[in-house]
Each structure stands twice: as C-alpha cells, then as structure tokens.
Amino acid sequence: MDEITCHNIDRLITVEMRAGQGEIPRGVIHRLYEAARAAQGDRSLTFLAADGLRKALKRGDHVLVVTGAGTPPWLPFGETDGPPGAAAVARALDIGLGAKPILIAEERNMGPVVASAEGIGMMVMEEEHFAKRDGCALSRPMPLGLEPGRAFTKEIFERFNPKAVIFVEKGGPNAEGFYNSLLGTGRSRDMMANADLLAEEAKKRGIFTVGVGDGGNEIGFGKCVEAIREIQPFGRVSKRPDGSQGVGVATVTETDVLVAASVSNWGGYGIAAALACLQGNPEILHSPSDEIRMMQRCVQAGAVDGLFCRPIPLADGTGEAVQPAMIIILQDMVQMSLRTVKRGF
C-alpha cells in the first residue's frame, strides 16, 4: 500500500469552507496542515494514524475514543463537530480491526456521542454485552475537573487496559492550563473533562495516541505550538475565565500522531478511509446514507452547529449536503486505490 491515496485523503479533508465574513478565522487550515505535516516527517497524516492504529490494536483490544466540544450556555450538549468523527473512527476500528471502542465525553455531551454511534450502526451497550459481541461500543462519561479526572483516568486504564487512545475535536489545555475556544475564550479545568490526563497516562504507559483537530486548541496540536501561535488570530492572545489576558489558544497536549483537518469530523472520516485502504476493505469507511443518518441523530440529541449556533446537521458551518459528498468522494478514493485499470489506447 503506497501513501498516494492517503496524501489525497489528507488534501480533501483539509479543504477550507469557511464563511466569507465574521469572526471565524479564514485561510488557516492548510497552514495548520502543513505545520502538522512538517512536524511528522512530511508523511500523510491519515496514513500515519491508520497505520499506527492497525499496528497497535488487535482483535478484542480496548481503544478509547474521546470527544465532546462546547460548553454551556451556548452549546449545552456540545457541537456537531466531534461526535460523528469519533463514531466513524469507533466503527472503523470495530469493523476493520475487531477492536472494542470505549466512547468518552463529558456527561453533558454524551447524548450526541451515543446518538452518532447508533446513527452509524454501532450499538452502545452495557459492559457485559459489549464484551461478547462485535458492532458495539461502551460509553463512559468523564467527570469535570482535575481530581475527578485523575480518578477516572486511573480507573479506566486499570480496568480496560486500552491499547490506543484517539481524541477527536477534544480541547486540550494551553500552557497555563486553560481550555480555549477557537476565538480565545478560556475555560477553567473545573468546567471541562480534563482529557489531557488520558493522553498523559497513555504516554506514560507507552500507548499509541492520535489527536484530530481543526483549530490548534485540540489535543494533539501540542506538536506544533509555535506554528499555531503564528497562524491563528488568537494564537498568542486569549481570554482567561476571569477576563484577563491569556497566552493563546494553542494546546500543549501532544499525541503520537496529529491529524489536522478542516472539520475534525472529516479527520475521523479520513482515518477510517485510510484504514479501509490499508486493510483492503471499503466497508471500514461508512456510507453516505450512514452519514446522513448519523448527522440527523447527532442533532436530534441536542448537538449544535458551531457556526450557525443552531441544532442543524452542519459541521463547523459546512453544509448539510457537504457531509455525504465528502463520504462519496472518500469512498471512491478507497475503492479506486484497490482497483487497477488498464487502458490500451
């Protein structure tokens, strides 16, 4: 398997479709991607993630899939970017590698996470049944705050002994310990699940980690903090919860592989597509109709689009038709990478 298809998967999922006006930064995605790529040996990022996962995970291994972005009051149940990407990765690891995904998010964000998984055809079950069959996931809400987070991290690693951890659109702390929105609004540790603790513990144990993000404030981007400070409008200046000036949105939390995308969901889809190429099985990537169902379920469970700030099946403001269109193209890329043509003229 060469990386050519995966390079093109990377290029597709990093096409920026931002609003022409307003506060959301524009013209930044390809720069974040290039920075992430430069920090990882100029390789295809989706290839590195998928290849690392298939080397780390064997049948029956537990894998943590961590997501959930957004805080009350604006996004009381989180946003539409994150849960679908996490669900697509969970499904891909179940079908492609026989791994056992455990979905982790704040309690408040778990509804759309579970709904996304169900929408894409994954049962979310009790532990007893989860252990006995394929096609399912477990959900474990992570408590807010540092100390409860430490206890949760200890318990989840001891109990499940995960062999990989994947973060999709999961905020990480900046250098002074605040979790920032893209626009530099800082939140304290007691407002968020401190998912960076999971990354730290995985690192301590030598467990493979992947971070997927689209802004530089998500877990994984610790790999290129300086670039984010350069690229993002709020890269150097953020707002602490008390209103004073903070050090910028870049998270310091690193993962073994960082996948930068235009929309974090697409990063998850890209990893699923790359795994489908590597494993020679197009079914590992979900279908366009799965995608439509998943987005609808996600929204019905309360998730809100991050640009329009309304419960509609968009992701980071990219259109309803765009999501299945992305999957159609990825599916064709996967299928063509497995097919050889001979044209005799």
Binding site: I4, A19, T185, V341
Partner: protein, 317 residues
C-alpha cells in the same frame, strides 16, 4: 476572495484515481502552476473572463478513432458549463472542436439550454485558426492537446494523436500575439497551456513526461503556453472551478455549477456517445471517476461559494 479561491484550487486537485493510471501527479501540477501565478488559478482565469460583454472561444474535444469515436466526456462537460456561465454574464460564446466531437457538444448545449454556437475545425487549417484568433477576445482550452517540444500531440500514455486531431497551436499562439486573453485548463501536462510550466514540470516530475514512450522522444508535456493555466484533477472540474470563481466575483451563486446537474450530465453524455477517458467505456464516469463523486466534488465547490457569499453570523463564544 483569494482565500476562497485557493480553497477551490486545492479542492480541484484532489486526485481520485485508479491504480494503473499515472497517480500521485496532480498535486505537483498544481504546485508548479500556482508557483507561476500571482493569484489562485481559478481567480486568475475568472478575472480575465469577468468583464463587459466579450467574444469567447472555448476549444475542446478529444476523439480517438475506434476507442473514443465521439470524444471523451472530460472537456465537453466543462465547456458547456463554463459557456453557460459566460453567456449568463453577457458574453458571446463559441465552442470550437473537431468534426466528430461536435454532435455531442451540440447535444449538451441543447440539454443545458445554452445559446452558444459550435464551430468545427478544418484539419490543421492554420488560416482558419488565425481567423478565429482575430475574431475572439478570449480563448479557453479545456482538455485540448497542445503540441510537445517537437510539435506533436500525445495522449497521456504517450500515443501520438497527430493523424486525427487538429493541432491548435497556431490558434493560441496567434491569440497571444494579438494580445487576446488565453487560458488553458488541463489535468495531465499534455494539454494546451502547460508550456507555461513545462520547464518546472521537467524539474519536478520528469518521469511523467515519458519521453521514452513518445516516438519523437520529446515526451508528452505540451510546450504550448497560455497566459493563464488552470490545473485540476479532471479538466471539467477545472472549468467548474473557474465558473465558481466568476460566481464569487459577481456575488451570484446561480452562476456556479450544481451537483445534481453534474450527475445528470454524465448520463446525458452517455446518450450522446461520449466516452470515459479513464477506462474507455461509454459509461457515466469521467476520467475513471464515477458521476456521483464528480457531483459530490461540484457540491463541495458550490459550498465554498455559498459560504463565501453568506452574510456574517455572530458567534459569541
């Protein structure tokens, strides 16, 4: 505008390609073309075409006897879609092609209800080409072979096309001499316009020139330059990108192509005997890419345009 057009440029270059075809080359084409342009490729083309009413000639068509008797569908779809946008902004549009390619192009124009005329080349008639160059204000080649360094035309696999394909080098060179707008839209390096970056392509990806496969030894890269070069994963997609950039310049999303229309074009094309250049079949596939994926690509292009033209929205967090 620059940012949104750069996004379209990059989207257009995503390669969706089967093994066995030359793979991993599209991004190189883009990077070389972008390095030779001071602005996004689709923006450069759109700005050149976005003026008061002008006379535009679009040149397309790639027929190969026995294999693609009425031509391939890459080129004609892009030609009629771009023609529709240009007619909508007041231009007079002619589409020039070889005799065997004319009927399907007329059929596509009828299908999209575009009042553009089809002109037919007399085989390598240089006087005719000089006349067209003098008449038109702008010339746009879409998936139209250009002469290589020795003046020969080649398919992507190095096969010579001189015997049955009109060479349009005189047309484009004359137009440039007369100071007319010239635009080349291509996807392989062997089409009109790539002369602009030929040296750079030889430096970056000499293996794709394939000199050993061309009888003259010159390779497939075209030496025919245009002022503006647009590269894309298929030439049709490149033309759709130019239409999208015109839509943004005019603030009118209706000037942009549409995914459902794109899918329909593939089936209409089959009925008009157009061929998939990827595998050589009369199927709703373009350069090996199925209709649904091309429609999805158009949906994404249009989405960039729609977001760009949206009113601002307040996000307080």
């Amino acid at each position: 505008m620059q940012i949104a057009c750069d996004s379209i440029d990059r989207l257009m270059m995503v390669e969706i390609r089967q093994r066995g075809a030359n793979r991993g080359f599209k991004w190189t084409l883009y990077e070389a073309a972008r390095a030779a342009s001071d602005k996004p490729l689709v923006l450069a083309a759109a700005e050149a075409l976005n003026g008061p009413p002008m006379k535009v000639g679009i040149v397309t068509g790639a027929a190969v006897p026995d294999h693609m008797p009425a031509g391939e569908n890459d080129g004609p779809f892009g030609a009629v879609v771009l023609a529709r946008t240009l007619v909508a902004i007041g231009h007079d549009v002619e589409i020039w092609t070889d005799p065997e390619c004319a009927p399907p192009i007329e059929g596509l124009l009828k299908h999209l209800r575009v009042p553009a005329r089809v002109g037919i080349f007399r085989m390598n008639d240089e006087a005719q080409q000089r006349q067209i160059a003098a008449d038109r204000d702008a010339l746009v080649a879409i998936e139209r072979l250009g002469g290589n360094i020795n003046g020969h035309l080649h398919g992507i696999n190095g096969r010579v096309r001189d015997a049955f394909r009109t060479k349009v080098d005189v047309l484009f060179n004359t137009a440039r001499e007369l100071g007319k707008v010239t635009i080349g839209i291509g996807d392989g390096g062997n089409e009109v316009g790539f002369g602009k970056i030929r040296e750079e392509l030889l430096r970056r990806a000499p293996e794709h020139n394939q000199p050993d496969k061309t009888p003259c030894g010159g390779g497939i890269f075209s030496a025919l330059a245009t002022d503006i070069l647009v590269t894309a994963t298929t030439s049709n997609i490149g033309a759709y990108g130019v239409a999208a950039a015109i839509a943004m310049l005019r603030g009118d999303v209706s000037l942009c192509h549409d995914g459902a229309e794109e899918e329909a074009l593939h089936y209409v094309g089959v009925g008009l005997n157009l061929t998939d250049g990827g595998g050589g079949g009369q199927v709703p596939v373009c350069d090996g890419i199925p209709a649904a994926a091309n429609a999805a690509m158009v949906t994404l292009i249009k989405s960039v345009v729609q977001r760009f033209l949206d009113p601002p929205r307040a996000r307080p967090f």
